[in-house]
Structures are given as C-alpha cells and as structure tokens.
Amino acid sequence: MTGRLAELVRALGARIVDNWIWRLGFACRFLWFTLKESGPSFRRFHLTIREIYFTGVLSLIIILVSGLFVGMVLGLQGYDTLVRYGSSEALGVLVSLSLVRELGPVVAGLLFASRAGSAITAEIGLMKATEQLSAMEMMAVDPIARVVAPRFWAGVISMPLLAALFSAMGVFGGYLVGVRLIGVDEGSFWSQMQAAVDFREDVLNGVIKSLVFGIAVTWIAVYEGYDAPPTAEGVSGATTRTVVTSSLVLTALMFRGR
C-alpha cells in the first residue's frame, strides 16, 4: 500500500519536473538567447516591420470589433446598475476605467494569443517540421536571430497598441450605447471620465500591463513553436498549448497585477 502510494507520488513528481520545471528552464534559456540575438533583428528592422504587419495589423479587425462590442455591453449593463443609484452620469467613468485598467489589456491579450500567438507557433513549428530552420542553420544563419527575434519583438510592440485601440473602441462603444442610444448626458459622460481617469495611475498602468502581457504571450508563442515536435500532431499540440498556456498565464498575471 505504502509502496503504491510512494510510486504514485514519484510519478506525479516526475511529471511535474519533466513537464513544468524542465520546460520552464528551457523557455528561460530560450528567452535569454532571443534577447541576446535581438541585435541583428533591430539592424534589419524591415523583418520586424513585416512581422508587426502579420501579428499587429492583421489582428486589428478582431480587436476593434470585440472592443466595440465589449464597450457597448459595458455601457448597457453599467447604465442599468448606475441608474438605480441615480448616478448614470458616471457611466463614462465606469466604462473607461474598467477598459483601460483591466478589460483592455486582458481581453486584447486573450484575443491576441488566439489570433496572433497561435499563428506564430504554427508558423515556426511548421518551419521546423519542414527543415527550414535546419536549412537556415546550415546556411550559417541563426534561426533565433532571423526567425524568432523579429516575431518576438513584433508581438511585444503590437500588443500595447492593440490593447490601447481595444480600450479606445470600447469607450466609443460605451458612448454609442450610453449617450446615443439611452440618452445619458453627453457633457457629463465625457467630463466625468476626464476628471476620474488619471494618466499615470490608470492609462500608464494599463499600458505597462499590456506590455507585460505582450511579452508573456509572444514568449510562449515563439517558444512553443520552436520546441514543437516536428510532426503534424506536434505542431497542432503546440498551437493549442500556446493558447491555453497564454490564457492561464494572463489570468495569473492579471491577479498579480492587482
């Protein structure tokens, strides 16, 4: 009985060490190499620009549309609650603070992980599976410098911008529903928002948050791609792991950030 229990504990420990601690160590080394090799990717910045187009610009539709609707929902539900206490003019404050501080970075991060993160993982994983990375290495070009670093930096640069756009669209959505549709006073909607939202405490905090989320999501995405087993199941598994791990990490980071 104790033997079986010990066996079980041992198996559990082995799984945790193999699946988590080893991989975390590798991921950290990988991040270090990526940062070390980032010099060349800045010198040939057109590579990073190209990736910003793929990760940032092509994510715009989903970010803008979701931002608008999240804002509209906030406007509607926020009004419903606020009006009971006779403070419906504070709708602007509610919408903007929830977006800028929390929902903007987090929801944009989740969308970014599933739209751009998965694409990065799949692309790098398939490049590995089709030996493009080995070929690059045989041509004396470091794939971390040429393939990974530009994608990493593109994600880190895009994410705060996307989160900002998400929040902006959300505020606009709240305005559409609150002011245009329901008829909250336009002047107090904007002026209360302006008075209550602090640039450093709220806006800058949100930007920093989204930057951290961007680093986390893109790091996970490039690592999973580079580490993917070079098979069809390997790449599909890695893509799934990117989305799942990023979402969990974002949630954890969100509560650390409080």
Partner: protein, 266 residues
C-alpha cells in the same frame, strides 16, 4: 594526405540516448570528388551527414573539414565554416514565405554587402544553372517537387561552396527530374571545383554518378570502393542492396515473436 582530403571522418561514434547510430566510422572524401554514402533507410547516413555539417556532435572521434576539426569549433567558427558548405535537404526545405529568387538570394543578402543589382544578377545566374531562371518569381508552393529540389540546389550553391552535401537528393522524383538532379550534381561539382557527398539509397542513379562509394549498414561502413567494385562485390548484403532483392541477409520481416504462437496463443 591532409591537403588532398577535404573531409576526414575518424573513429566517429554517435548515439541518440542509448541507441548507437554510428559505430566507429572512418571515411575520407578527396578534394574534387563526388562520394556517395549508401545504405538502407535508418542505417545512419543522414546522421553522419549532420555530424559532418556540425549539426550534431559525435560522442567520440573527430571530423575534419578543410583541415579544421568540426566538432571542436566555437559557434562563430562553425558558422564561418558553414558559409563554405552547401547542403541540399531531402525535400528542399525552401523558405515557403519567399519566392524562388528570394530563396536563392537569401545567403547573399545575409552574408555579403553586395549591392542589390549584383545580388540580382548572381541569383539569376544560379537559377539559370539549374534551368529555372523563368521560375524566379514563383513561390515554393507553385513549384513541382523536382523544381523545388532544383531551386534548393541553386540556393545551396549561392555562395559557391567548397563542399556540397546532398541528403537523399533523388527521393520522390520522377525519372526525368531524377536524371536532371543527378546530372546537376556532377556538373556543378566539376564546374565549381567543389567536393560533394551524396547520401542516397538510389543505387542505379548513384553508381552512374559518383567516383567512390561507402556502403553503410547498421551504423558501420561495410564496404567501400569505386562503382565498378560495388557492382562486382561479393558481399551478400551489398548484393542484396544493389540488386534490390526483397529477402536475404537483410530480412524482409522486422524481428517478431514466432508467427504461429502470435496467432494461436489463446
């Protein structure tokens, strides 16, 4: 001796985990020659090629290319040496996000400061050498298997390497493409003054093409000689390989428990 052999592999042993893939391999590739490494699938040919290219480190022994010990070089020295090596991968491994032209120009852009107009001329010349100048603007997905292999060949000779390595260059090609690739390997080797290693199990094509053959089996060099010596060899496993006999010293069946027992047990 050392100057006339571009590649020298001495007592190289290599294993993945416990499984030994290369067992005490010795071989030399003389300057200017085309040498084939032949053997069954899974006998360690490709692994050997990777060891020579410095992508894998041998557990024991050493690999010399142009007088330098590959497995003792630092990363930057290895990269410097690799600029003078070309490798054709089994399925070409073209960069799928670039056109044929960009694929060929890749190394020139990465490793030289040549102006764009010269890079353009050079890349077109390489494509012309493999007969695909007209396909310069096509993407890899628009190329047939044989064409992709030829573009990859043009890419690997982009910087006029001293050593060309071919990993299964004939796999999955139709007879015409196969002949074309074979001819190109020979012609490019002779006109570039390069040295070539061809890893293959395509016996007929290889014996027509190469100067010398190493035959590997289960991680060891079993036989070496000129193509004529290979054809005449008495070694039974080599005979089976050369003439494609289904059963012989290399069994048709993967090792398994007794068939009757397997079927009728319980």
């Amino acid at each position: 001796m050392a100057t006339s052999n571009l590649v020298e592999v001495q007592n190289v042993t290599f294993g993945y985990d416990e499984r030994q893939v290369l067992k005490d391999i010795n071989l030399v590739v003389p300057q200017g020659k085309v040498v084939a490494i032949m053997g069954l699938s899974g006998c360690g040919k490709t692994t050997l090629l990777r060891v020579i290219g410095g992508a894998l480190l041998p557990d024991r022994g050493e690999v010399r290319v142009a007088g330098r010990v590959v497995n003792k070089l630092s990363d930057s020295e290895l990269f410097a040496l690799r600029r003078r090596m070309g490798m054709l991968f089994q399925f070409g491994a073209l960069f799928t996000d670039m056109s044929s032209f960009e694929n060929v120009a890749f190394q020139m852009r990465e490793h030289t400061n040549l102006p764009e107009s010269i890079i353009r001329d050079l890349a077109l010349m390489k494509l012309q050498a493999v007969g695909l100048r007209g396909a310069a603007d096509l993407m890899p997905s628009e190329l047939s298997g044989g064409m992709a292999r030829r573009v990859a060949l043009a890419r690997s000779i982009a910087l006029d390497p001293m050593l060309m390595m071919y990993d299964e260059p004939f796999t999955g090609l139709d007879p015409i493409s196969l002949g074309v690739i074979g001819q190109l390997i020979r012609r490019l080797n002779d006109s570039l003054g390069a040295t070539s290693i061809v890893v293959t199990h395509d016996v007929a094509e290889a014996l027509e093409l190469v100067d010398y053959v190493y035959y590997m089996s289960a991680g060891k060099v079993e036989f070496q000689g000129t193509p004529d010596q290979v054809r005449a060899a008495g070694l039974s496993s080599l005979r089976q390989f050369v003439y494609g006999e289904p059963d012989g010293p290399v069994p048709f069946h993967y090792p398994a428990p007794d068939y009757r027992q397997d079927l009728f047990a319980q």
